[in-house]
Amino acid sequence: MMSSSRLVEVRQNVLKQNDALARRLRERFAQSGVYVVSLVSSPGAGKTAFLEKTLARLRSRARVAALVGDLATDNDAARLARTEVPVRQITTGTVCHLEAAMVERALEGWELGELDCLFIENVGNLVCPSSYDLGENMRLVLMSVTEGEDKPLKYPTIFNTADLAVITKIDLAAAVEFDLSAAHKSIQSVRPGMAVMEVSAKTGQGMDEWLQLLGLRFSSQA
C-alpha cells in the first residue's frame, strides 16, 4: 500500500566504506613514514615508463616500492620489476579502477616501515579512479602530448582531484604540434594553481625537476 510509505532520513556517503578504508590506510602510511604517490592517466599515456624511470633513479637514494593495477596481465609489474625494487601487480579483472581494499590486500606481508616511498599505478582510465580515495598523499594525473591539449577539459573531474599534472612524451611535442600553452591553460581551467611538470621518460627531460619536487614533498612530510 503506497499510503503507508514513509520518508526516513539517511545521510550516508555511498563510498563511505572505501573512504573509511582509505583514511585508515593514510594513517597507516603516516605512522610508517611512507609517502604514497598514485598515478592516473588514460591507457597508453606513459605511466609505466614514467614510473620505471622514477624507480630506477630513486632506488639508490630511497627505499621505494610499487603497486600496479591492470584489468589483466602482469606485464607492467614485470617491466617495473626490472628496476629491482619490490613490485606487486593488482589484477582487477573487470573492475576499471583501483579501490582502497585492493591496495590494502596487495600490501599484505609488506613491512611499510621499511619503505620511504610507495607508488600506486592505477588502471588506465580517466573517469572511474577519480571517485576512489586510495589513501595516497599525492595523486598524479598524466597526459601525453599525443592525446590533445584539451584532455583536462574532457575529463575535468580527474584533473580536479589530482595534485600534480604531468605532461608526458614531451620529446614528441614538436612532431605532433602539441600546443603547450593551450595544454597549461586547460589544466589551470579545471584546477587553478595546480603544479604541472613536462617530462620525457625516454630522454630524461624534466625528470630532475620531478624528482626534486617529489623529494621536497616527502621530506616535508617526514
Binding site: L7, V8, V10, V95, C96
Partner: protein
C-alpha cells in the same frame, strides 16, 4: 563505467537501512549527486534499475538531486556557483577559484519505505 558498482552500493545501503527502520520495501531512494562526483546521472539510473532486480528495491525509484559545484571566491569573498566543471573561475569577477565547497557529493539522503 563504475556506475553499476555505485548502484549496488546504494542498494546494499538501502537494504540495511530499510531493515533497521522496520520496513520491508523501499519505494524510493533520494540521492545527492555532485557534478564533481565522477558519477554520470543517466548511467547511474540505468544501472540502478538493472541492479534492483530481485532485491527489496525492485521497482523503486532513484530520485537524484544534482548538486552544482559551489566554490569560494576570494575576491568576491563569497560562495559562487559554477556553470561548468570545465571552468573554475568566478562567474562574477573571473578570479580562479580552486576552493570547492560543494559538488562532490555522492550521498543517500533519504528513503521512502513501507
Amino acid at each position: 563505467m563504475h556506475e553499476l558498482s555505485i548502484a549496488m552500493s546504494i542498494i546494499g545501503m538501502a537494504t540495511e537501512e530499510v531493515a533497521r527502520h522496520g520496513g520491508t520495501q523501499v519505494n524510493a531512494v533520494h540521492l545527492k549527486l555532485g557534478s564533481l562526483s565522477g558519477v554520470v546521472k543517466d548511467a547511474l539510473l540505468f544501472s540502478y534499475e538493472a541492479a534492483c532486480q530481485d532485491t527489496p528495491l525492485q521497482g523503486s525509484r532513484l530520485v537524484i538531486e544534482e548538486v552544482p559545484v559551489v566554490v569560494y571566491c576570494p575576491t568576491c569573498r563569497k560562495e559562487q556557483t559554477l556553470a561548468s566543471i570545465q571552468f573554475f573561475y568566478c562567474p562574477v569577477c573571473a578570479t580562479p577559484t580552486p576552493e570547492v565547497l560543494r559538488g562532490v557529493e555522492l550521498e543517500v539522503t533519504a528513503l521512502e519505505i513501507q
